[in-house]
């Protein structure tokens, strides 16, 4: 027994170290998702109050910089501190976006932004903590891909109140509360159009049944794309395409496989699964591959060329689309830097030049009721002729 005790004195501190490291780790997706949903209503209640003050606050902070007229070239100046907050850190596209942001920071002579976020994309409430921390630290700018619906309204407003520009990229804050500007990868309506077109290409003119495999029900960009696609589907050109169901795989591989196979079982006439998420599309393609269903059910959506390569080759995923996440991170950093250093103003009509990517204009966001947008674009479509790898 004494020997055991002595050993425990040595090993005890090791466990403490392990536990400290534990604090840096993520937590499990499934359980937190439901918790997040439960708090949604509470967050929504505060939204309406703060939303009205947003636009005036954003306008007041900036008067010195040039607005309208010729494009302002964003140039290197002071080094800024910034937080680059993705939906989660463990999906390949987000480190890619961060590498673009790092490239931009290097060009602008600034320190790279801190790349932090929930480890797991199923964790829809984790971003609140990171936002709040960034505001407390008093960073000069926050770049956010929102994964929490309206739940980030309050911390984003707190950032705006503290004079910190919140530049969203990839996924905006739906109400635009506290948000300076949204750097959109592609026009959300265009995403709907592109997905509908790919569905028609794959299903042919006689059409057929297809289903959508999304990420989480809270992901603002997913929901906007699906809504845009549904609008396109309502037009006569696409009347033969029947959307039978939308399911969610939480951007978790296992859940997405289960959801995809559930679709197959629920809809005997299903011919296509459209997954506007890089995790979902590859999980669906793998599920069809291992069940030998690729002949009857195709997979399409938004995917990373390097992840989709084997399924394009096998014919399981004849066509899919995406934009460059590196460019998106690059542009987001330029915009955030420009606003933080007061070279540009986050208001309608402002134009600027963002390094290697050229000239952009800030406009009202046509896909939301409020908010400003910088539109990056365009889409790249990938298929057997253009595998992208």
């Amino acid at each position: 027994m004494t020997a055991n005790k002595r050993r425990s004195r040595v090993l005890g501190p090791l466990v403490v170290v392990a536990l400290i490291l534990a604090a840096c780790g993520g937590d499990s997706g499934d359980t937190t998702t439901t918790a997040g949903e439960a708090t949604t209503t509470a967050a929504e209640a505060t939204t309406t109050v703060v939303a009205e003050t947003t636009t005036s606050a954003a306008a007041e902070t900036t008067t010195s910089a040039a607005a309208g007229g010729e494009a302002v070239e964003i140039t290197a100046g002071d080094s800024i501190t910034a937080t680059f907050l993705p939906k989660c850190t463990n999906i390949a596209v987000f480190p890619q976006a961060n590498s673009g942001a790092e490239e931009a920071a290097a060009e602008l002579g600034s320190d790279p932004a801190e790349f932090v976020g929930p480890a797991d994309c199923g964790d829809t409430t984790g971003q609140i903590e990171f936002m709040t921390n960034a505001v407390t630290q008093g960073v000069d700018a926050i770049m956010l891909s929102n994964n929490s619906g309206d739940q980030l309204d309050a911390p984003a407003q707190a950032a705006a109140d503290a004079g910190i520009p919140v530049v969203t990229w990839d996924s905006p804050i739906p109400s635009a509360t506290g948000e300076s500007v949204f750097v959109a990868q592609v026009d959300f309506d265009e995403t709907g159009q592109v997905m509908a077109e790919m569905a028609r290409t794959i299903l042919g003119d006689d059409g057929g049944e297809f289903a959508i495999l999304s990420a989480t029900p809270d992901a603002a960009n997913q929901n906007a794309w699906i809504a845009a696609m549904e609008e396109v589907l309502a037009t006569p050109e696409f009347e033969n395409l029947v959307l039978v169901e939308t399911v969610y795989g939480n951007d978790v591989a296992e859940d997405s496989v289960t959801a995809a196979l559930g679709l197959v079982d629920s809809h005997p006439d299903l011919e296509l699964i459209m997954a506007p998420t890089t995790v979902g599309i590859v999980a669906a393609a793998q599920a069809m591959t291992q069940e030998g269903l690729c002949e009857t059910i195709k997979v399409s959506g938004l995917g990373l060329p390097e992840e989709m390569a084997p399924y394009v080759e096998s014919g399981c995923a004849p066509e899919f689309a995406l934009w460059s996440f590196v460019d998106l991170g690059y542009l987001a950093y330029y915009v955030a830097y420009g606003i933080a250093t007061e070279q540009i103003v986050a208001e309608e009509g402002a134009t600027f030049v963002a390094g290697r990517m050229g000239e952009y204009e800030i406009t009202a966001d046509p896909t939301r009721d409020a908010g400003l947008r910088v539109l990056m674009g365009p889409f790249s479509k990938y298929n057997a002729e253009n595998p992208g790898t």
Binding site: L11, L19, A22, V252, Q286, E306
Partner: protein, 368 residues
Amino acid sequence: MTESAAEAAPKSTRFLRPERVKEATLLAIIAVSVLVFAFLIEGYLSGRFFNRVTTSVVVVTLLAAAQALVIFSRNIDLSVGSIVGVAAYLTGDFLAATGQGPITAVLVAIVVGAVLGSVNGLLVAYGGVPAIIVTLGTLALFRTLLSIYSEGANVLAGDLPSWVLEFNNVTLFTIAGFQVRLVFLIAVFVVVGLQFALARLRWGRRIYAIGSNPSAAAQAGLPTASLVFWSFVGSGALAGLAGFMFLARAGTISATAGAGLELESVAAAVVGGVSILGGSGTMVGAFLGAVFIDTLKLSLVRVPEVSEFWRDAFLGILILAAVILDTVLRNRFNRRWSAEARKAMESTGPSAVGMARMAGGGGGTADA
């Protein structure tokens, strides 16, 4: 020793042992829920659904077995989800680099899992730190190390040898649309093997003995530390094998692979009648628990009335209902059973039956 002790037990109790009752109840509950879902979902009862469940249950089955192995000795392993992630990722990396075959891949996964399990085992068995704290720490530690190692990059399906993507579909034989797949057979083989070993072999009985009463087991001279250590190594190895299965199922592995599976494995084991206090439960029970939870999950996805938001809550409610029903039924049997035992004790004298209850664990020490 074990054999003769069991022989000594009165005939009437031999087939109605409590664990058999638990397993039978759970089997009945699974059957009832399948029937209910068959009414709710069109075209539910088919060979196809059998194939779905038997393929998807493999990972959780192996993890439930891993979990049960340590719970039997009154420990817990919350790091199994992270071990799955690390094993899946490293095995994927290894296969992408070398293009080896299935047997090597399985061995790599098992070794990775066993090494991580031995970290838990060292800290719990020789460090004297409670298992829940150690494995809570390593749950995050293993995951964080994986995140750092992966640098956010995924193991890509395209880089893997092509057999990996088809592995889940390898079917040994088909009876009327019901496919018996290799992966399922492996899982069943593992469960049956462990069931046999734990029930019949000396180290198996000793693990139960430690779980029933750790200090008594130590007093009796059992090598408790090394048994606990090896049970964690075994748990890690099983989680590693589950990691390989996860790789074969998902194809693309991110650093979050397997996150959350630890809770599912505990749920499966507990639903399967494994006492969280240690000392009782069976591998077959844990397996049935995994089948039950997986069947619920796969079935609920197909009930359109249960929305995305409610599915997890609904799953939780159904699991609770199953456990409550199981407890109620078991208590009834237990009451009858202990009354019988009392009667038997009165007729044969206390020591014989008492020793039989203690099973082989205590008995084995005499030979050691």
